[in-house]
Amino acid sequence: MRISTKYWTLLFLAALIAVTPFFFPSGYYFRVGSLLFVNGLAVTGIVILTGYAGQISLGHAGFAGIGGYACALAPVHWGVPPALAVVLGAAVSGVLAYLVGRPILRLKGYYLGVASLGFGILVAMVLNNERALTRGPDGIEVPDLGLRGLLKDWGLNLTNGEFWYVVTGICLLIGAWIALNLHSSPTGRALRALHGSEVAAGTVGIDVARVKLQAFVISAIYASVAGSLLALQNKFITPDVAGFLHSVEMVTMAVLGGVSSVPGAILGAGVLTLLPQVLTVFAEYEQLILGLVMMLVMIFLPEGLVPSILRRLRGRDE
C-alpha cells in the first residue's frame, strides 16, 4: 500500500512535469519551471534532514554554493568537463558535510541552527573574499554544459529553456524517488525515530550519530546538485547562492509545503518560486503580500500545505 502511494506520487509528479509545457504561452515558463525543479530538489534534501531526522540547518545554501562554484571553477581551472564538475561538487559537499557534521550534529535545535549558519556564512565569505579564485561578489561565468549541443547533433533541437526544464525535471524526479525510497526504508525509519527520541533510538540499536551524519551528507549532496544545476543553467553564479537568505529560503519552502513530506516540499518550493513571479503585478506591494501569504498558510495549515490538507481529507473520510 505504501509502495503504491510512493509510485502514485512519482507518477503524478512526472505527469505534471510532462504535461504542463503544452500549456506554456512562452519560453519564459520553462525557465520558471526549471527554477521550481531546482528549488524542489534542494528542498527535498531538507526534507531528509529536517523532516525525517528533525535536524535544523540554516547553512545548506553553503553546499549549493559549493556545487555551483564547482561548475564555475573546475572546468576553467582544472579542465574538468562541466557534467563531471557536478559530481565533483557533490563529492566535495559530501565530504565537507561529513567533516562539519561530525562535530556540529551533537548540537540540538537552535544550537545546531546557529552552527550550521556559521558554516554557511563561512562558505559565502570565502566565495566573496577569495577574488583571485571566485572573482568575488559580482559573480563568475559558468561554462556551458554542452549537452544541448550534443542533443542537437542527434537531431533533438531544444531551446535553452526547454532543455533545462527537461534536465532539472528529470533530476527532481530522481531526487524525489530517492527521498521517497528512504522514507520507509530501515535508514529512513531510523532517522524518523531519532527525531522522536534520541535516547530511545539509541536503545533500539540505532547509531544516532552515524545516521544523523548520513542524513546530513545526503541532504548536502541534494543542495550541491541543485546549486550546480542552477549555476549551469544560469551560466553565471554569484556568492548569493551560498548566502544566509538562500538557506532560510530552502527551510521556508520545506516547512511551508510540509517539511516531512516530499510532495509537500516540492509544492512549497513551487509556491515560493511562483509567488514572486505572480506578485510582480502588485509592484511595491509584492513583499507585503508575500509575507502575508506565508503567515496565512502557516496559520491555517500549520503542518504545511500537503500534510495539513491530507489530514483534512482523511479526517472527512472517517
Binding site: S26, D138, G139, N234, T238, Q277, E284
Partner: protein, 357 residues
C-alpha cells in the same frame, strides 16, 4: 507600441540604487508618452524588481524577452544582476543598457550590452589623478565587501601603480557593519599614509566618515561615486563630511554649473522634475537610469525603428548625447562612451558640494 523592459533592485541590499532608478524610469516614460512617445509610438515600460539577486534578475530578463517581448532592456542595478541579465540579452540579441559600475560589463565589448555609469576603474583613475596632483604617494584603502566596493578595490589596486602611488593599508568592512574604527585605526597607524580612499556605497561610507572624525584622523578622505548624493553629507554629518572628496557627476552640482556647461539644462530639468514628483533629492543613481533610457530613446529615434538589431546599431552609433552623467559618444570599441572628463572632482564644503578646480 514600443516595449522597453527594466529589471532593477528596488528592494534588497541595493535598494537605494534601484529605488531612484525605478522612479526615474517610470517618470520618464510617463513624460515621454505625454509628449507623444517615440516616433509617434507610445512606449510601454515593463519594470521588475530583482531584489539585487542575480538569479532573479536572470529570470526577469528571460521574462522580459520571452514573455513581455520587449525591444530593449535597461537595468541591472548592480554588477552581479547585470552579469545575469547580460548573458540572456546577448543570447536573445536584445540591446541592454546596464546601470552598474564594473568595467567587466563592457570590457571586453559585448555586442548587445552598453552601460551608463563610469567604470570603477575610471573612478580610481580620477581619484588617483587628484591625489597625484596633491603630491600623495602613500594611501590607505578601506573598501566595502559588497560587489561595488570589492570590484572598485580591485580596479584601484590595478591602476594605482600608474600614478606612482603605493597602497600601504588595505582594509575592508561588511556593508552592514556598525563601526569601522578598528580598521581605520590600523590605517591611521600605517607607515607614512597620506590619504585614505573608501570605495563603497550605502551606509558604510557614511559610518567610515563619522568614525574617521571620531578618531581625529587629519588625512584627506576620498569617497567613491557610489555615495554621490546629498544624503551622504546628511548621514555622515556636516562636520565629519567636511573636506571629503569624490568623483561625482554634474547632477550633484547642478546649481554650480556655469551657464555654458552643456549638461546644465539636462541636469537641471531632470533634478527639478524628479524632486517635484517624488519629494526626494536626486541621486547619481537615478541619473544613471535617466541616461540609460535616454540612450535607448535616442537610438530608437535615430534608427526610426524599434527592431532590437536596429536599436543596437543605433546605440553603438550614439554621438554627443548629453546625459546627467556625462556626454556619451559610443563606438564599436566603447560601449560606455564616457571619458574621465565627465567626472568632476567634488569636495564637501560647508555642508554642500563644491567643484574642485
Amino acid at each position: 507600441e514600443i516595449r522597453i523592459g527594466a529589471s532593477v533592485s528596488s528592494t534588497g541590499p541595493a535598494a537605494f540604487l534601484g529605488d531612484p532608478e525605478a522612479k526615474t524610469l517610470e517618470m520618464m516614460v510617463e513624460d515621454l508618452n505625454a509628449k507623444g512617445g517615440i516616433n509617434g509610438e507610445q512606449v510601454e515600460l515593463v519594470l521588475y524588481d530583482d531584489g539585487g539577486d542575480a538569479n532573479k534578475a536572470r529570470t526577469f530578463a528571460t521574462r522580459l524577452i520571452e514573455d513581455d517581448e520587449v525591444q530593449a532592456i535597461v537595468g541591472g542595478s548592480t554588477t552581479g544582476t547585470t552579469m545575469a541579465i547580460l548573458s540572456v540579452a546577448e543570447d536573445a540579441e536584445i540591446p541592454f543598457v546596464s546601470l552598474a559600475g564594473a568595467i567587466d560589463i563592457i570590457q571586453p565589448v559585448k555586442t548587445f550590452t552598453f552601460k551608463t555609469p563610469h567604470t570603477d576603474r575610471m573612478a580610481c583613475q580620477k581619484i588617483f589623478t587628484d591625489m597625484q596632483a596633491r603630491g600623495f604617494t602613500k594611501v590607505g584603502l578601506i573598501s566595502g565587501t559588497d560587489g561595488f566596493g570589492a570590484s572598485m578595490q580591485a580596479q584601484c589596486k590595478d591602476v594605482v601603480g600608474d600614478y606612482g602611488i603605493e597602497i600601504v593599508a588595505d582594509e575592508t568592512y561588511d556593508p552592514k557593519d556598525a563601526d569601522m574604527t578598528a580598521q581605520l585605526t590600523k590605517i591611521k597607524n600605517a607607515d607614512g599614509v597620506q590619504a585614505v580612499l573608501n570605495p563603497g556605497f550605502g551606509q558604510g561610507p557614511a559610518i567610515v566618515t563619522r568614525n574617521y572624525r571620531q578618531l581625529g584622523i587629519e588625512l584627506p578622505l576620498y569617497q567613491s561615486h557610489g555615495v554621490a548624493s546629498d544624503s551622504f553629507i546628511e548621514l555622515a554629518g556636516k562636520d565629519a563630511a567636511e573636506g571629503v572628496r569624490l568623483p561625482g557627476t554634474a547632477l550633484l552640482v547642478a546649481g554650480l554649473l556655469p551657464e555654458s556647461d552643456p549638461q546644465k539644462p539636462v541636469v537641471t530639468e531632470y533634478k527639478a522634475a524628479y524632486e517635484a514628483k517624488y519629494n526626494q533629492p536626486v541621486s547619481t543613481f537615478g541619473g544613471y537610469a535617466h541616461d540609460g533610457l535616454a540612450l535607448v530613446v535616442d537610438a530608437i529615434t535615430r534608427a526610426g525603428s524599434a527592431e532590437p538589431a536596429a536599436i543596437r546599431d543605433a546605440l553603438e552609433a550614439t554621438s554627443g548625447l548629453v546625459g546627467t552623467t556625462g556626454i556619451y559618444t559610443m563606438s564599436p570599441e566603447d560601449h560606455l562612451g564616457l571619458d574621465l572628463s565627465a567626472f568632476r572632482m567634488l569636495e564637501v564644503k560647508d555642508g554642500g558640494w563644491t567643484i574642485v578646480e
